[in-house]
């Protein structure tokens, strides 16, 4: 079967005052329709820029040099015209950001922002229909008093509420792919868990494929079907979630898992700053476990 997203040998260079810096050294990622995939790594490993390349945002930056192929639905985003690429954003793919409250515009009401999102698919959509669809979407993310929320500004709502709004907006146009960059990291752990559960139920219902970007192994294990581990711009290990968690083979993945503090009180793990073993070649678990 052909995959929804197929990234092959993706490289990213940034031009800085000091010269060229290579951020991604040729990564391959594959996501099938409706599949939930996680990209795990520490901050600075290149996971967030990957999401922005998939959206076609980084391509517009003049300092960025990108090579390789990013096939979305059979078309290469890297060679697409910026205008055509913009047509995919907000319709065929959408994104959820880290901090919901600062990702919603502070001076525009939730209702107006929702309308703008819905009109990405059909810009002649009547206001009444937009309101109706927005209300239905908000009900889907367990917001009962949708009318009040639509008339509110983001600062009037709690972080968890804004996160639900953002999930509703992201899924409103039934995208094929949802990019979730550290969703809810800025929220309380309990609120983050609630909203993640909600998001998982919805993407299952809508058959939306997800690329979850996270450094939180607990979240990844609960959410994803398959996992890619990224370290310093390289994929070091990938495979089905259960296989990878049961038997991490790459030294970096092992270190990452040891670094998670356990609630049983065995103390903080010792993780080396750098290790030659972290740079070992990629290990791929077979798809059958």
């Amino acid at each position: 079967m052909t995959s929804l997203l197929d990234i092959q040998n993706l490289k990213l260079n940034f031009k800085t005052v000091q010269g060229q810096v290579e951020v991604l050294h040729g990564i391959d990622i594959n996501i099938n329709a409706g599949e939930k995939v996680a990209l795990v790594g520490e901050s600075g490993s290149g996971k967030s820029v990957t999401a922005r390349i998939i959206l076609g945002l980084l391509q517009e930056l003049r300092q960025a040099r990108i090579s390789g192929e990013v096939y979305f639905d059979g078309r290469d985003i890297n060679t697409m015209k910026p205008k055509d690429c913009a047509k995919l954003r907000g319709t065929a793919m959408s994104m959820i950001f880290q901090d919901p409250t600062s990702s919603l515009n502070p001076v525009i009401t939730i209702g107006q922002q929702f309308t703008e999102v819905l009109r990405r698919r059909n810009n002649k959509l009547a206001q009444a229909i937009c309101d109706e669809q927005a209300t239905r979407m908000l009900n889907d993310v367990a917001i009962p008093d949708a009318q009040r929320v639509l008339n509110a500004y983001p600062f009037q709502l709690s972080g968890g509420m804004n996160q639900r709004v953002m999930i509703a907006m992201a899924l409103a146009n039934r995208p094929k792919l949802l990019l979730a960059d550290e969703p809810g990291t800025a929220l309380d752990v309990s609120v983050q868990a609630q909203t993640l559960t909600l998001m998982r139920e919805l993407v299952n219902d809508y058959q939306t494929a997800v690329l979850l970007i996270s450094h939180n192994l607990g979240v990844v294990r609960e959410f994803a079907d398959r996992v890619y581990v990224i370290y310093q711009g390289r994929i070091v290990e990938d495979g089905p979630t259960s296989a990878l968690f049961a038997n991490p083979k790459h030294a970096y993945t092992q270190a990452l898992m040891n670094a998670v503090p356990r609630i049983v009180g065995t103390g903080l793990a010792k993780v080396p700053e750098v290790s030659d073993a972290f740079l070992a070649p990629r290990i791929t678990h077979s798809d059958v476990t």
């Binding site: 003049r62 954003r89 907000g90 950001f97 990702s103 919603l104 502070p106 001076v107 709690s158 907006m169």
Partner: protein, 342 residues
């Protein structure tokens, strides 16, 4: 709405305090300087009894606090004293000359906003690329010369070499318009004389542009700077991730939040035009407060000087209150502060 009314009352309260301070400052400038105001006003050839009677009339023989008390008491009755230059009440003089200045400043302010904000938006939208560089250099040029230099250059180019606009004045002498508001653009319309209205506008163009040029540059630079900062906010990235048109992101998502911090400064620029109007009015022989102000200053007419400065300070404070209310209206955080968070 009650939050906005509370804000209005607070601002009015602060303005009254500031206004009292301004009256003290003006009083201090007028009285604490060396020299006898009466002698200065009457000139070196005045007789001793003339000076004595004027001193008594101006309460100059009493202590400074008492003098200030008299000044305040007169002020509260709307009495700014008699101008030694025109021999009329200063309030009458100001009422005659202020509307011309306000009309000019108001037009210049509109031009500043209509051109300055869109140029700033354009520069921010194409930040780092050639439209940005072009607008940056142009706006830097416009803020680099005082109003009278622009007035002279515009007059030379568009009144003499290309005689598109009149050289001086507010209205052609052939029109006889009853002065109701003192704003000729309004008075001509009230008189139903459309030809006179066009003529009044025609006279306004060059002085208003000369007065607004540095404001345009200032507004464009400020809008650009605030918007570039806004462009780094997560909600802009979110708007980009949703594929909104870049021009729409610029006009709505980035401009709206940036407008609020810009407005205070734009209000200050607007008010600064009250001072700069002195320069432009002089070049275009605009019969406003400037001609009067310079005349009374050269004659050391203290009552008129104090009155003129006070009126300008009051206008300035009113502009600031309007700007603050506008900010409160545009900023949902202030507008909805009464309702609290959900």
């Amino acid at each position: 709405m009650s939050a906005v009314i509370r804000l209005l009352l607070r601002r009015l309260g602060i303005s009254v305090i500031v206004l009292i301070g301004v009256s003290m400052l003006i009083f201090a400038i007028a009285r604490v300087i060396p020299g006898d105001p009466a002698r200065i006003a009457l000139g070196p050839n005045a007789k001793a009894e003339q000076i004595a009677s004027l001193r008594a009339q101006m309460h100059l023989d009493e202590s400074l606090p008492v003098q200030y008390g008299h000044f305040l008491a007169d002020l509260s009755r709307g009495d700014l004293g008699i101008s030694l230059y025109t021999n009329r009440p200063v309030t009458k003089d100001i009422a005659q000359f202020l509307p011309a200045t306000l009309e000019l400043v108001f037009c210049a302010g509109i031009i500043m906003i209509m051109l300055g904000l869109p140029l700033g938006i354009l520069a921010a939208r194409y930040r780092g690329r050639w439209p940005d560089h072009l607008i940056r250099v142009l706006s830097l040029v416009t803020v680099s010369a005082p109003g009278f230099v622009w007035a002279v250059i515009l007059m030379l180019l568009f009144a003499f070499y290309l005689p598109l606009f009149p050289i001086a004045g507010r209205l052609n002498d052939s029109f006889d318009i009853a002065r109701v508001t003192g704003f000729l653009t309004i008075d001509t319309l009230l008189a139903g004389d459309f030809a006179a209205f066009t003529d009044a506008l025609h006279h306004l163009v060059l002085p208003a542009i000369a007065l607004s040029l540095s404001g345009i540059g200032q507004a464009a630079r400020l809008t650009r700077a605030n918007m570039v900062e806004t462009y780094n906010k997560p909600y802009i990235e979110m708007a980009q991730a949703y594929g909104f048109f870049p021009s729409r992101i610029a006009r709505i998502y980035a401009f709206k939040p940036s407008l609020i911090p810009s407005l205070t400064i734009i209000g200050l620029d607007f008010a600064a035009m009250l001072g700069n109007a002195f320069l432009v009015e002089a070049v275009f022989a605009w019969p406003g407060l400037s001609r009067y102000g310079v005349a009374v200053i050269l004659r050391k007419d203290l009552n008129a000087i104090m009155g003129t400065v006070l009126i300008i300070a009051i206008t300035f404070l009113i502009v600031n209150i309007i700007v603050d209310l506008l900010i409160a209206f545009l900023n949902p955080r202030i507008r909805h502060s009464a309702r609290g968070s959900a």
